[in-house]
């Protein structure tokens, strides 16, 4: 465990969750700051080394993927989750309860999204201090800013950070309502489902499973798979897009 690893951990913690491309940039940055001469270790080994030290603290750097397009993400998660613990110190009791209500609606929904209206209608049932709908709207935005929820056209779903962080808690707390992906057997919030037998798959799992398959069929009941097959996530294309984003960003910041 060296300063390179420590700096990496600190910065990863600051962000909560990071996409793989940013994680690699972060790793290189930490080497540059603390140990220019050393060779940059392969990311997987680098993270495994850190995780072996984190084990005794019941936390680990976990790798997951965004549910909509399969981008790999990394987050520092608790292994012994008893509740929504990481959020507990950042939010008041009524705010945490609002999150729990939104979480329940999301899990129960067919699409993995809960509408703003439906969440706000539950404002009267919250524990703790009374919250008005206007306030609740702002709290929901706070959740989005802190990467616990994602908003799309007035509807909310779980951010990949929340899924990574709370999967165990969700599976234990809502064992009947929870949906599981037929391919990777992890928690599923958004995905596609077979209209005949009802099994579900993550969009990136669908992409990988049916890759270059012209006649996609349900792996369970063999019926035709009725949905559009998404593309497999390509890190190369992603890197090109991200480099041009970063160049634009640094040009802007140096302009004053």
């Amino acid at each position: 465990m060296t300063d390179v690893h420590r700096r990496f951990l600190q910065l990863l913690m600051t962000h909560g969750v990071l996409e793989e491309w940013d994680v690699r940039r972060l790793q290189k940055h930490c080497y540059r700051v603390h140990d220019r001469t050393a060779a940059v270790e392969e990311l997987e080994d680098f993270i495994n080394n850190i995780n072996s030290v984190l084990e005794s603290l019941y936390i680990e750097i976990k790798k997951g993927a965004t549910e909509d397009d399969g981008r790999p993400v990394y987050a520092l998660v608790n292994l012994a989750t008893t509740s929504v613990s990481k959020m507990a110190s950042d939010f008041a009791e009524n705010e945490l309860d609002l999150f729990r209500k939104a979480l329940e609606l999301i899990i129960d929904s067919e699409t993995g999204f809960a509408s703003s209206t439906n969440i706000l209608n539950l404002v009267d049932q919250l524990k703790g201090k009374k919250m008005r709908k206007k306030e609740a709207e702002q709290v929901l935005q706070k959740f989005v800013q802190n990467k616990w929820l994602i908003e799309k056209e007035g509807e909310f779903t779980l951010h990949s950070r929340a899924i990574l962080e709370m999967e165990q808690y969700i599976r234990e707390t809502y064992p009947d309502a929870v949906k599981i992906c037929n391919i990777c057997h992890s928690l599923l919030i958004q995905g596609q489902s077979c209209e005949t037998c009802g099994i579900r798959m993550h969009l990136p799992c669908v992409a990988k499973y049916f890759q270059s398959n012209s006649e996609p069929r349900c792996p369970h009941c063999n019926d035709y798979w009725p949905h559009e097959i998404p593309e497999v996530f390509d890190p190369e294309k992603e890197r090109e897009a991200a480099t041009s984003r970063a160049t634009k960003r640094s040009l802007r910041s140096r302009q004053h």
């Binding site: 465990m1 300063d3 420590r6 700096r7 951990l9 600190q10 910065l11 913690m13 600051t14 962000h15 940013d22 940039r25 972060l26 940055h29 540059r32 700051v33 072996s52 030290v53 984190l54 084990e55 005794s56 603290l57 019941y58 936390i59 608790n78 292994l79 012994a80 613990s85 990481k86 110190s89 950042d90 970063a246 960003r249 640094s250 910041s253 140096r254």
Partner: protein, 326 residues
């Protein structure tokens, strides 16, 4: 399931009498100030030992089945207690990390209320082990301060207030460059004015930089809130009313976190660069900064000596238990 290295024996905390040198009498490194607490979990109470031996003695050479069961039950209870202790330490580490993100100091009573609960008597042991994890794994120092020494903050060993060539990179990656730059300007003003500056002087300096208290600034947000609330709450600045002033005036001075994270010499260097002069150009401040450097060097040497002593003691203990992978 969770693989956790099973620990046979725990290294017990060494209670050294010496204190880490405090910067201004207020802060103390959390290493040596805890007295060793005789805990039922960690040390075999003499009675227990005697009991086991008595049983062994009573049955001549081998244990009766009953005796063996009792010993096994005791061992199981001890293991459970160790696991519970480890878990509590881990929870405290996470609690401190989360709380520190907001940079507000954490009190002992908060820790007991939210994490430690009925293991309250083991607080010194728990917090010492949590501090060790924070240092080894994350590079944070857990520092105590406050009159009763019951308030704690985490200080980054990697000194975030120092200039870094990588500053731009870290901004992209989530650093607080501009806000800390503003802080250093204020710390500089305070230092050059003899370690305290009137509130009016601070706002005057900032006005010259185009920063107004209640006008939203694209880099600093609302400066008044940043300086009067955030920096004060995070203990970067102290803010108090100057006695015997009419109309009442208020002044800023360096807060304990500033003393921990940056030095007078560094701030003087920053001011000097700003004026394109050498630090020696201000002989009074330069002398004061030199004295400050000497104090810090002494404190550092003392802290390192006590760390080495503890590392030696720990190495002796963990040779048997093999807990840490280093």
């Amino acid at each position: 399931m969770l693989q956790k290295p099973e620990s046979g024996a725990l290294p017990s905390p060494q209670a050294e009498g010496e204190k880490d040198g405090s910067r201004d009498g207020e802060t103390q490194t959390l290493t040596a100030s805890q007295k060793e607490v005789p805990s039922p979990f960690l040390q075999e109470s003499p009675n227990e030992d005697l009991g086991a031996r008595r049983e062994e003695g009573a049955t001549a050479s081998s244990l009766t089945p009953k005796g063996a069961r009792t010993l096994a039950a005791k061992a199981l209870a001890r293991r459970r207690a160790y696991r519970r202790l480890d878990r509590t330490v881990a929870e405290l580490v996470q609690f401190l990390l989360v709380k520190d993100k907001k940079k507000s100091p954490i009190t002992r009573s908060e820790m007991v209320k939210y994490v430690i609960g009925d293991l309250k008597d083991l607080f010194p042991e728990i917090i010492a082990r949590a501090a060790e994890h924070l240092r080894y794994v994350f590079g944070f120092e857990l520092k105590q301060f406050g009159r009763k020494h019951h308030t704690y903050i985490l200080v980054n060993k990697h000194k975030p207030l120092e200039e870094e060539e990588e500053e731009v990179e870290e901004e992209d990656l989530g650093g607080d460059g501009p806000r800390l730059g503003l802080l250093i300007m204020i710390l500089g003003l305070i230092y050059m004015k003899g370690n305290s500056a009137r509130e009016t002087q601070v706002w005057e300096m900032l006005r010259r930089l185009g920063v107004r208290p209640s006008k939203y600034h694209f880099l600093f947000g609302y400066p008044k809130r940043l300086i009067m609330e955030d920096f004060v709450q995070q203990r970067y600045l102290n803010y108090r009313q100057v006695p015997h002033t009419n109309p009442p005036e208020c002044e800023f001075s360096w807060g304990p976190r500033s003393n921990l994270e940056i030095s007078k010499m560094k701030v003087l260097g920053f001011v000097a660069k700003l004026h394109k002069k050498e630090p020696q150009h201000w002989p009074v401040q330069y002398r004061e900064a030199l004295a400050d450097e000497a104090d810090r060097a002494r404190a550092k040497a003392r802290a390192e000596a006590s760390m080495r002593a503890r590392a030696r003691a720990r190495a002796r203990a963990t040779d048997r238990a093999g807990i840490y992978p280093w």
